[in-house]
Symmetry: D2
Subunit: 351 residues, 4 copies
């Protein structure tokens, strides 16, 4: 198969770098275009980027020229799709313009998530939502988003519980600093501290979770009917959002039943054996003190960290209690978008 | 007034050191006896103690001889009361023995908290529980405990809400490492990490909260009738437990009503102007991102940190959401016991 | 004595806040003017400032109007002196303009430090350098600077050694993030990390140390003749620069002689009993593992942290080895400038 | 080739775990025996070990029985060599006993390092020191040690400089907490702090460096003639010792010459293409702010971290200044011992 030519919008930031890392050696896609802000454009990617990932910058992009994040500049390049790591403020118009010009857009930006015809796609959870794109009014192009980073973990904790009937879900987060971008959290603010506030995060979790777990009917999403109540805080952790979840269930349940439901959970990306899909999307830890950000993001050398880890599954009266861990920059951002593109390709939506 | 002679049991540990600090310059009590483990006893307090507080070791105790933590050794000294910072494992018998020998015991240990006749006293919250001591079968002595460190903050967040009717409370904690004692949490385990487990902590919070907020009737405590569901985690913070609280209320309420209830809350320690009582036991922060451990424990130089700080008061449907911060080593431990002794003295229970 | 009216330039930043804190209750000076950047001016100080100090914002400045950092705006106010916490880039011209308009300027900025007629004053170390101001060509005003934050500690470690003859000094630093200002070090860069680079810091230490320890002769400073070689790194510490110092001495020495020299060191601020002067400018710790940033900055509640702490004094062949700790924001910045103004007042240079 | 059967002594600790990780998939050695302390022996390795590495416990050892760390128990197993991660206190006798019983011992313990006939081997640096084992009086067995973790980095920074003539070397360290073992540094001691003391570390660096860089003549090591002066501190970093090095050179040199010497440095492990040898033992970073512990330990997924990284190479008069980074648990411990065994095998010393 000839690889599709991929552009990465906002390629020099934290999420953009993860796109570069994942796509630098991908079987379906090859990076041919990277864009950045005015202060990066015109430089090589190596010069423009303050690389923050553990491993070194992939050789393949070091000398690539950083384009201005401008539709005309991008469209002048020969690209088959784009991945967007743009800030929400500029994502709306630019992604719209590219989709209008026939480009499929896989976006980590929140800008289009609340539009009726734009799926917030997590292919293990709501694969049928991909069909929403057929109702988008773009000529050839389309927009598929992935969810907010905390939401991307929460829905894995909730989806397998839907068979028990969810009455409401209360989630409290311990979020890593990388979720705020490279300069988002100053060290004087977070060293030895917890900041009980992340702008807009609680609303995003509350809205997106119900949409992703909602039903696709007649070209629209009917949000899941249970309430989600989120409280978010930043902790001095580099990568990995931990979430404490308390779910009131309607039906009877035992801890073992829930663990079984998690362990047996699998989705279309697993059935299709997509390159970025983890073999088990949910991994249950039975130790008393897991999962933990520094120990459970990656299972082995080279593991991207796409699986969501769940632990401390407990029953408190009719409530289920557990902690989950999601790699915010991978399953909650760049990895999510790449998996969406792989899935769209497998389903023939992307060609 | 002649000062009462106080012993500090387990004086070399984290909480013991806070007792030393608070009592080194106290108007009612003077430290005359300090005890430690076998490896400390026989040394001076200065030599035996790896002082971990910010300020320097008070001169008054530097040369004090550390006694073995043994009832006979303690009783040989002329003491009017003891403060106990003992580990639970040895606290039960020793505190019992001292009380039996006529010594009032103000204990931070959990050992006796679940006994029917032993109050978990927080004098702003449940001052009448002090009366339980009259049903204790000790000859002259008695035991008064303070609560677990997380509980000591939570009850301030809940007490003023009881007028609205509490249906249930869900609390999720971000707990400082000092709560585990000097060697409790290894640095390899917590640097850049969150550990979603603290042994026994959730059960303590769930039980103690309902007892402290319960009614004293006919010499017994009827626990408060609402459910408390706790999830606890350790974060890389030195001092200060932050807690996210979600409370389902029965009655109508507005955020402003709740803030007013917090701001106007005051108790007997304030009315009695006790030395360790904060002028306002609850301080509401209206900024969007407070309270925070590194910024809100102490209000001014020399402030012990006895006030509980509450922020981000929000309404989500019929649930109240907020964050609170409590100084685990002060309001949650040594300061709490000292305030209890001051209160007992003011009420004539301690003489 | 009527208090002198003080302006604080750049009052909303990390160092500016320390000026506000120190001066909010000062016997000689009262804050009457605070200035900030364009985005702060016009607001009240309380609204414009993201207060980062542990204690709360002093009431006295909360409602003070923040002026634009502009000479005309400042001069319109009735001020007797200014303290400058400006960034070097704008400090040069503005401080020059104010001095030219007759205002004494006590500056933490580096802008004027390398001028021949401007003292880098540390009154315990080089009190006679204050006389340089008489050669400044300002009409009534003058400029006195304090040193770079790391230098301010190092010179206390070196000055008492000069009697032994210093051949060279090699210093390696562990610097706190507050030294870089509020947003200077991003959390993604420093959590669990060390950054072996601080822009211009090594040069500042190497130059300023030799000037401060130099001789004032005929209206000029002859730098000290020994070499200083600095290597600087940032560590995940909030406040307090630790420095490892290796000094090659010319004369014979013993560790005890050096400790005696440190312990007996005292200067004019001590003799004059200036308000901000510590009673002992150098405190030697004899424990094997001190000084430490979280434990040794402050000796007791309310201690500003003006004393430099020295520990691990060792002899390695003819080299003296030791560690020192300096409070970068106090002795290395705001406290240093305030002490300079107190000293200038005591000497009649400031009236 | 049939793999040699390897025992790991002290396999449950931090360094022991790294041995397990490296050897779980090694071309020359297979782990057949793991030993632990009395509280681990009799359990499976999975149950006995609080695994602290990022990746998960290799399957191959999960069910392996942990033996008591006792010579008889070990010798009852069929083993060809042992790797020792024992604490120094018990290493001396046990390693001696095993070597006497014909077992080659590759030890990370310091116990035997100062013996005349025991090499502190780093095969890129002093391959000929391996010959010392021929003078050991064991029947069939022998002992080869690797150096202290800080030393293992320093010698790479110094060896290529020897052609310029080293007069003396002053090293100041920023050491990770993992170097102290799993419970070595408590979190209350290091969060937001620096501890300027590591027991015995400075002496080890000063002695071992001169031995490793010394000459093997007539069956003995003549230590290198220059002085080494070390100052050590612990920083809140998980893995990776950073070291600031100041070297006085006798000959002329330029920064470029030194960088060339580092870049072109290679040794026998590279020539022999040993499995654990990095392709370049020294990697020079030219960026202004590198190397850094969180960014430079590993170059790519699966990279063990055996290369030493050097940066900020500067000239200050006749002194060379630079920073180096060494992975304390790999190049400074387990990886070093494994490379030593590979080298001994390649040289026919181990068969």
């Amino acid at each position: 198969m000839k690889k599709l030519k991929a552009g990465i919008l906002g390629a020099t930031g934290v999420v953009g770098q993860q796109f570069v890392k994942i796509l630098s050696n991908h079987p379906y896609f090859e990076v041919t275009t990277v864009t950045g802000s005015a202060k990066s454009s015109g430089k090589t990617y190596g010069d423009a980027t303050d690389w923050s990932a553990t491993n070194y910058l992939p050789e393949i992009v070091i000398d690539m020229n950083v384009l201005d994040t401008d539709a005309n500049a991008i469209l002048r390049n020969d690209i088959d799709l784009v991945f967007s790591a743009l800030p929400a403020s500029i994502a709306y118009d630019l992604e719209d313009e590219l989709a209008s010009s026939g480009i499929p857009v896989f976006s980590n930006a929140s800008a289009h998530r609340m539009r009726e015809s734009v799926p917030i796609l997590i292919p293990e959870i709501n694969p049928d939502h991909l069909n929403l794109v057929s109702s988008q009014q773009y000529d050839g192009g389309f927009i598929v988003t992935n969810s907010n980073c905390s939401t991307s973990g929460l829905v894995f904790g909730l989806k397998p519980l839907m068979e028990f009937g969810i009455r409401d879900a209360i989630v409290t987060t311990y979020q890593a600093v990388s979720g705020a971008g490279r300069k988002g959290v100053g060290s004087m603010d977070i060293l030895g501290n917890v900041i009980p506030f992340i702008s807009d995060e609680e609303t995003k979790i509350e809205q997106e979770t119900r949409l992703i777990l909602g039903k696709h009917e007649n070209g629209r999403i009917i949000p899941a009917q249970f309430d989600v109540n989120a409280s978010c805080a930043r902790v001095p952790v580099l990568n990995g959002h931990l979430e404490s979840v308390v779910v009131q269930l309607e039906g009877e349940f035992s801890v073992n039943q829930v663990i079984d439901a998690y362990n047996s959970f699998s989705g279309e990306p697993q059935a299709l054996d997509l390159p970025t899909a983890p073999s088990n999307p949910i991994i249950v830890r039975l130790e008393p003190d897991r999962p933990q950000p520094t120990r459970d993001l990656s299972l082995h050398d080279g593991d991207l960290g796409m699986a969501v880890k769940i632990g401390r599954v407990r029953k408190h009266k009719n409530r289920l209690n557990f902690f989950l861990l999601v790699h915010n920059a991978i399953r909650g951002a760049a990895g999510a978008s790449v998996l969406n593109a792989e899935f769209a390709l497998a389903k023939g939506v992307l060609e």
